[in-house]
C-alpha cells in the first residue's frame, strides 16, 4: 500500500512516487493533485494501481495520474502510461473495456432565456430520439458489410449516410476516424453485439446533457469554438458499447497466454500485455482501432438524433435551433504518438484510461480554427454540477504526454451511493434546481449522485494550475438524459 509519506512533493499540485518505492517499478509515478485531492485519492487503491502500472515493460518517462483519479480494475482511472514504440508493450486493460469512451460537445446560438419553458419538452424529445438504457437497441441495425465499413471509417461513414457534416468530422479527435482499423481482428461475438447498438447511449455513467454556457474564461478560444455565454450546449458521453467491451474481453483473455509467451510477469492480470509489434499486439491495435471507430460513429449518430430532438422541441420557438460541433474527444484510448522525453523526440504508445488528450497550440491533428488555441478538452462533471471546456497547452505536451483529466472522478462506491441516496429524492432535488431529468433507472441515478464524485471545479483548477490545460468555459446543466 502507498502511504502519503511515500510521496514526494514537487509543487502544490505535483507529486511523485519514486521508482525506488518498489523494486519492480520501471518508472516513477507523477501525480497531479492538490494536497486535499491527494488525501482523497489515498482513500482507495488507485495509488497502488498506479504503482502496478509502473511495472509495465517498455515504459518511458513516468506514469502520470490526474486529480480525478480513482480505483479502477487494474490500471487506475485517470492514468496515462507511454511505452516505447514498437517494442514496448500494449495493454488492453490499460485502455479499458469501453474503448473510446468519450465526450462530444455541440454548441448553439439558443439563448436559455428564450427556451426556458421548452426545456422539459426538449429533455423528453432527447429521451425519445436517443435510445438509452440497459439492453436497448438502436434505430439502425447494421448488416455485416455496413459494420465493417463503420469499423474502418468511423464517423466518416455517417457522413456518407447523411448523418454528419464535414465540419463535425474536422472538429473531432482523429477527425472521427482512427487509421489502422482491422476488422479481420474483430471476433464474431463482438460483431454480434455491435450490429444493433449503433446510435445508442447505454447506461451507467453515460448521459446526454443540455447545458448553459455559464462563464467564459478565454474569449478568443470561446469565439473560435462558437461558445456564447447564456446559450445552450449539448454533451454526449458514451463509447463503443458492447462491441468495444467484447473486443477488450477477447484480448484480455488472449493476452493471458501471450504474456507468458513473452515472459512478462505483472502484479495484476488485468494489466496483461504484449509487445506492440508482436502478432498479438498488432492484432489488438487493429481491433482497438475498429472499436474506436465504432464509438466515433456512435457519438456522431447520437449527435444527429439530438439535432432532430432540438428541431422537434424548438423549431418555431427560436429562429436558429442548430447545433454545431465544438469537438469530440476520447478518454479511453491507445495511440501511437511522438513526444519529447529527456530532450529527444520519441515515438510511444500512449495509453489513456480516464484521461483526455490535450494537445497544445500548433500540435498536429488539429483543425485550422484550433491551431492557435490548442485542442478543446471536454470535462463533464457529475449530474447537477458544472462541466468544463478547456484547451490543451504546451505544458501538457512537456509534462503529461499531452494529456489531462477527464471528469470529476468518483470518491464513493456505487454500493455506498445506493445505500445513502434515494434515486427519486435525487431527481426531485435536481429538478428543484431547474435541471430536467429523464432517467431509465432510479437505482442507476442514485449511483451517479453528485456526492459520489469529486468536486470538478477543484479538479479543473488543479490541471490549470499545473499548466496541463487552460480554462475556456464553465457549463451548467439544465437537462440530463440517462439510461
Amino acid at each position: 500500500m502507498v502511504d502519503l509519506t511515500d510521496i514526494k512533493r514537487i509543487s502544490d499540485v505535483e507529486w511523485e512516487i519514486p521508482k525506488s518505492f518498489r523494486a519492480d517499478m520501471h518508472v516513477p509515478v507523477r501525480i497531479f493533485a492538490t494536497r486535499e485531492l491527494l488525501e482523497a485519492i489515498a482513500g482507495d487503491r488507485s495509488l497502488e494501481q498506479a504503482v502496478n502500472a509502473a511495472t509495465l515493460p517498455g515504459l518511458v518517462g513516468q506514469v502520470v495520474v490526474m486529480p480525478d483519479m480513482h480505483q479502477g480494475y487494474g490500471f487506475p482511472i485517470g492514468g496515462v502510461a507511454a511505452t516505447r514504440y514498437p517494442d514496448g508493450v500494449i495493454s488492453p486493460g490499460a485502455i479499458g473495456y469501453d474503448i473510446n469512451c468519450g465526450v462530444r460537445l455541440l454548441g448553439s446560438q439558443i439563448e436559455v432565456g428564450a427556451v426556458a419553458a421548452e426545456l422539459e419538452d426538449l429533455a423528453q424529445a432527447l429521451n425519445r430520439h436517443c435510445p438509452s438504457g440497459v439492453g436497448k437497441s438502436g434505430h439502425y441495425r447494421l448488416n455485416e458489410n455496413e459494420l465493417e465499413e463503420v469499423m474502418r471509417d468511423g464517423a466518416r461513414w455517417m457522413l456518407k449516410k447523411g448523418f454528419a457534416t464535414e465540419a463535425d468530422l474536422q472538429r473531432s479527435e482523429e477527425f472521427g476516424r482512427m487509421p489502422g482499423a482491422d476488422p479481420e481482428k474483430v471476433s464474431k461475438r463482438a460483431r454480434q453485439r455491435g450490429r444493433d447498438q449503433i446510435g445508442t447511449l447505454g447506461a451507467g455513467n453515460h448521459f446526454i446533457e443540455v447545458d448553459v454556457v455559464d462563464a467564459i474564461y478565454d474569449e478568443d478560444a470561446a469565439q473560435a469554438m462558437g461558445l456564447r455565454e447564456g446559450c445552450l450546449a449539448l454533451q454526449i458521453h458514451c463509447g463503443s458499447r458492447g462491441f468495444g467491451h467484447q473486443i477488450c474481453t477477447d484480448y484480455v483473455r488472449d493476452f493471458q497466454a501471450a504474456a507468458q509467451r513473452y515472459h512478462i510477469t505483472l502484479p495484476d492480470r488485468e494489466l496483461v500485455c504484449a509487445p506492440v509489434n508482436s502478432p498479438e499486439g498488432i492484432a489488438y491495435m487493429g481491433a482497438m482501432n475498429a472499436a474506436a471507430n465504432f464509438a466515433f460513429a456512435n457519438r456522431q449518430l447520437l449527435a444527429h438524433l439530438a439535432r432532430q430532438a432540438f428541431e422537434e422541441a424548438l423549431a418555431g420557438r427560436v429562429k436558429n435551433w442548430h447545433l454545431h460541433q465544438i469537438y469530440d474527444i476520447a478518454h479511453n484510448m491507445g495511440k501511437v504518438e511522438t513526444h519529447e522525453v529527456d530532450g529527444k523526440a520519441v515515438k510511444v504508445c500512449v495509453h489513456r484510461k480516464g484521461a483526455t488528450r490535450a494537445f497544445g497550440p500548433g500540435a498536429p491533428g488539429l483543425p485550422p480554427e484550433y491551431q492557435k488555441i490548442g485542442q478543446p478538452v471536454l470535462v463533464p462533471g457529475s449530474m447537477g454540477t458544472a462541466s468544463w471546456v478547456l484547451v490543451g497547452t504546451k505544458g501538457s505536451m512537456q509534462r503529461s504526454f499531452g494529456s489531462t483529466c477527464h471528469g470529476a472522478g468518483r470518491t464513493m462506491s456505487r454500493s455506498q451511493a445506493k445505500r445513502t441516496v434515494r434515486g427519486e429524492d435525487l431527481r426531485k432535488e435536481l429538478e428543484a434546481k431547474g435541471i430536467h431529468i429523464q432517467a431509465g433507472s432510479m437505482a442507476g441515478l442514485a449511483e451517479e449522485a453528485p456526492k459520489a464524485y469529486k468536486d470538478v471545479d477543484a479538479v479543473v483548477e488543479t490541471v490549470a494550475k499545473a499548466g496541463i490545460a487552460r480554462k475556456v468555459a464553465r457549463l451548467r446543466p439544465v437537462a440530463v438524459v440517462k439510461g
Partner: protein, 138 residues
Amino acid sequence: MPEKAPSGFEEIEHTADWALRVWAPDLAGLLEEAARGMYELSGIRLQKGARVIRSFKVESTDAEGLLVNFLSELLHFAEKEKLAFDTFELLVSESVVDARLEGAPIVEQKKEIKAVTYHNLSVRAGPQGLSAEIVFDV
C-alpha cells in the same frame, strides 16, 4: 455469531465498479455463486413459467480463467438472447467447464455489466472450500 453458509456471495466496496466476494465448497459451486451474485448485482428478474436450456463449454488454463470465461458467457446470453439462468449443472475439470443451464427470459434488468475483469482475481483454497473476489466493469 451465525455461521457463514457453506456457499454464497456478498457485494464488496469498489469505487467505480462492482465487486463480489464468492465462496463455495468446490469450483462448480464457486461458478454458480458467482453467476447468482452477478445476476443480483444486475437486478435481473426472470419470466415465470417459460423455461429454456442452454449448454456450452468454456476452457482456460486455470480456475481464474474458467471463472472469467464462464461469467462472460452468461453476460453474452443476457445481452444477445435476453436470457439468464437459475439452475446450474456444471462439470468442471482443470481446464474445462461443461455447463448445462436452465433459466428463462429476462423480464427486467436494472443495470448493465460491461465485462468481467481479472483484477486481483485469485481462487483461493481454505478450510471451508474455495473463495474469490471478482470485479466487474460497469
